[in-house]
Amino acid sequence: MTSIDTSAAGVDIESLNLSFDDTHVLKGINLSIEPGEFFAFLGPSGSGKSTLLRAIAGFGPTPNGRILIGGEEIAHLPPWKRNVGMVFQSYALWPHMTVRRNVAFGLEERKVPAREIVTRVDAALEMVGLLDLAERRPAQLSGGQQQRIALARTIVVEPRVLLLDEPLSNLDANLRIQMRRELRELQQKLKLTTIFVTHDQEEANTTSDRMAVLNDGVIQQIGTPMALYDNPANLFVATFLGTANVLAGAVEDAGGGAQFNSVDGAHIPVDSAERGPRNLMFRPQNVTIAAADASADAGGVRLTGTVRHMEFLGSIIRYAVAIGADTVLVDDRHQQGAPVFAIDNRVSLLLPKDQLTVLQN
């Protein structure tokens, strides 16, 4: 067993606002992260996700609002009194110290007895599998190794919360996939409350229990990766998480039910209690492309259009189909010998009603 012993603490953020000079960067952030949870901040660059993480660690301008860790208000504390561990995007390993000295740094600052420091540093290096590199300098290590040392340096002090600022962005693609698995395993083993900042939805999906999507300093939606993908709260979340077809229009009454009438003239029956201007969203893989004379199942919708583009992506073929003035993307699972719809062919698109999502404008 490991000698690293962490006691998980929850993180609560209450009406947090933060400005750089005149720029309002974080706008009314409210967030509650459970003890031991792996939580992701996902958003495009400039969305404020790193700023929020840094505010939890105590860096950057002083925010308004409350930040609680384990129920204790910490917003007024300097960074060195917060006991939240942060792994920096650049790793920030000090080049003038060996790996061992780097990892021991936090324990030395905490006045831990020298004997205990040795065993705890060994345990942390063992945990990331780099004990034999302890006497090296950071410059002699590869990117992945540096990343692991940075992680060891942070967890060795047994922080109450682990903050990861785009930790995988400096690694190459294969290593990134491996490291995100290792991160998840380590987090599960330590039961450590972890906040992971990323702009890559795949990273957030694969690692986190829940995530918050940020845009323009505002939290757009909080939930499990799958819930957010299937039921996005708004257009931004829908398009940021994967590819989405979005039709503009309005939901109106039609023969006892609801019908979505697109601006460009498509009429699609939907299950919706709401009425008024809305967007209709559905994912390319949920649409079935078929010959022009195919008919829809019960509970399905049939649209007809013309194939405009076709891309062969290996596992799927992605069609762009023009329906009036709208263009809809359709992913068709590729099977050997299956017919391919050529450009300018008339085709039917079959949409199951339960895969349609009505979004607020």
């Binding site: 300097p78 060195w80 939240v84 942060m86 920096f88 920030a92 000090w94 003038h96 340096r153």
Partner: protein
Amino acid sequence: MLIQTLGIIPLIMPPFVGAVAMALLFGANGSVNLLLDDWFGFNIPFMEGLNGVIFVESIHYFPFILINLSAALNNIDRAMEESAQNLGAYGVRLFRRIVFPLAMPGYVAGAALVFIKVFDDLGTPLLLNINNMLAPQAYLRITSIGISDPMGYVISVILVAFSLLALWVSLLALRGKDYSTVQKGGGGLMRRDLRTWEKVGCYAVVILILLLVLSPHLGLLLLSFGTVWSFSVLPDAYTFGHYVTVFSEASGYITNTLLYAGLAAFFDVIIGTAIAYIVWRTGLPGRKWLDYGATAALAVPGVVIGIGYLRTYHGFNVPIIDQPLASWWVIIVVALTIRRLPYALRACMAALQQVSIMLEEAAENLGATKGRTVWRVVVPLMSGGILAGFVTSFATASVELSATLMLVAVDSDAPLAYGIYEFMQSAAGRGPGAALGVIGVVFVGLGTYFSHRIIERSRASRESTAIVAEGATA
């Protein structure tokens, strides 16, 4: 920003010019001691003997350390500091364990450079009448006993040895410790918000230092406008007479300086560009040694270059004009070129490194020969750096005294620094000497300012190059 700019000003004036002004301000009968005597009844012997040299040189070269240190601090990634804070370090411990060690190489390099420069300085000790230092000894031996006196050469060898040692120390400090850790995004340490009283304290210290650093200039300015200035806090009366004297009698010094320093800087950037290209873009065997050789000129004290040329070309008569090469003015240009080559070379190398090799390959791919590529693509892209090299070489060459003092044969061939030195020798000449010094400072200052403006402007129009260069390294 303001603090940095004002801190650099002293560099554009030779230290010995400041020495005279400082003697008047801080000497036994200088302004400060007169004031102290009036108010508190005691004196501080700032300028007595070796103290004077130490005092003048440390004030003069303070900006050198400042520049090196601020560059070193600028190159530290903010995350380096933040990660230490995150792990519990703060205040003095944070500085001692993280910031200071990371800035150390810059610090040592700056200190070694200052050591070499002070070691080499001939004018200051001579003007302050401190002759028992190595550089003045070498000079006095050669000029008083004669060119055949062996002691001068022994001292020269010792000078070179010590300078090389200092250069070696600075290289050792920097080797394998390229701590410039800035990643894309946030560079430089975080700005600190100070409390009001801390701000007041900081400004007080900074202003005191600035006053000290600028005191030679203030003294020089007063001296150049003052009529008689002795045993009084300020000059008795003010006049433009000294400037009139300078322009009527000593304009030759100014034109000579423009000619010598201009030629030297011109040759420096040409040689610098050539060496930079050979070192970075060709596989020529021994190209590294070309770099080392040119840089080593940094470690050869000016006095030694002067003595060396004097001795070597003493008996060598230039055919057409029929006089010894050692006393012809061209030898001054040659000496200055060699002296200032390292500065130009550094600037050219830095400029060339910024030019992506892909830009050259693109030109060659479109049919330009190597030579045409260098001329049409590389040199234009390097122009900012080349100009910077030219100005640095020009500015430092125009205030050079150590090497030229040896080589000036007739007064009509003498440059500005020599003129100032000559004037300063006599009490009556101090006014005109100071006026000449002010003119020199203004000249070099303006040159530096304009080249800075030009470089800024060309940088703005060249953002696209930076993008290409970035792509090449990514």
